[in-house]
């Protein structure tokens, strides 16, 4: 169960600010889109399993379609050939959307400092949370998701319309 946000309550009503409620609702129902390429994908599978259950944080349903998911979990090495495909998947997601880069390869290219590997997915899409590790333990991935939950809860509702966000999207070439 989650804690109620601060507000006035009375007989049959509860008044609080809108963004608190929306933040609460969003953070506790983040539907993940796994984009698992290699070994970190297996760690992600372990996170989804019964032992390190991710479903208790609201990520019960993992739609493998970008149209219905909130957060894109990129786990594994992304090659330069895969870059445009990852970008396409990100573009197909509906707002609000967040990205978690799981593992060293997704964050910075990892140990594969070589010509075919994309040195970090932030060269093609904007990333919100980076989870380092090779591979990160499931507890690490859970920690990353919890940090994202903090981000989601405290995000202002007008964030997607702000100048800073627009500039960020512009720098990636995303409309």
């Amino acid at each position: 169960m989650v804690e109620m946000p601060k507000g006035y309550s009375g007989e049959g009503f509860f008044a609080t600010s809108f963004d608190k409620v929306v933040g609460l609702a969003r953070k506790n129902s983040l539907w993940p889109l796994p984009f698992a390429t290699s070994c970190c994908g297996i760690e992600f599978m372990a996170t989804m399993g019964a032992n390190y259950d991710l479903a208790r944080f609201g990520s019960e349903r993992m739609g493998f379609t970008p149209r219905q998911c909130d957060m894109l979990l990129v786990a594994g090495t992304i090659a330069k050939k895969m870059g445009p495909i990852l970008r396409q998947v990100y573009l197909q997601m509906a707002e609000p959307r967040w990205v978690i880069a799981i593992g060293a390869c997704a964050c910075t290219g990892g140990i594969f400092d070589s010509y075919p590997v994309l040195q970090g997915i932030d060269q093609v899409i904007p990333v919100d949370v980076y989870v380092p590790g090779c591979p990160p333990r499931p507890e690490g991935i859970l920690d990353g998701i919890l940090k994202l939950q903090d981000l989601v809860q405290n995000e202002s509702l007008r964030r997607r319309n702000s100048e800073q966000y627009k500039e960020l999207m512009q720098s990636y070439g995303i409309q």
Partner: protein, 178 residues
Amino acid sequence: MLFELIMALTKEIIKERLTEKFGEQLTEWAEPYGMLTFTAPAEMNLKVMQFLYDDETLRFRFLTDLTGAHFPDRKGEELSVIYHLHSLENNIRLRMKVYTPIEKPDVFTATQLFAGANWMERETYDFFGVNFVGHPNLIRILNVDEMDYFPMRKEYPMEDPTRIDKDDEMFGRGGTVV
């Protein structure tokens, strides 16, 4: 026929039959780790493989591997294509190497004989630049299509060239720590 079934195929027999047919054109006979290896001239690669395929005692009808290598010190024959052949009925493996100059690396394609050579030759083209004459679709297979160089050649480094944040000192190159 019965006599051949009793006598198992050995490396000596293979070598004998090959030199009988091709003579001095096959060179550099060796047996690294027990696998018989020889070198053939680049124009003859199909003839040798066809002979190994058709011959009733040899029966090398399975192409295990097709790969390339770059030897910058072998002037005039820098790029090599290496074929690993296997005779399933006799359980014997064979390695055939061909060398070709880097200015004009033309090698006849093995796709007519072995369908599996198709993608393997594309990979060899992608990484070394060996031009397989007669290949149905010789384009890059593993690298990005816009790449304009052949990465596995010795002059190109393994590392990604677009990184700007690498600290040379940490990699043992220059800097203040020798």
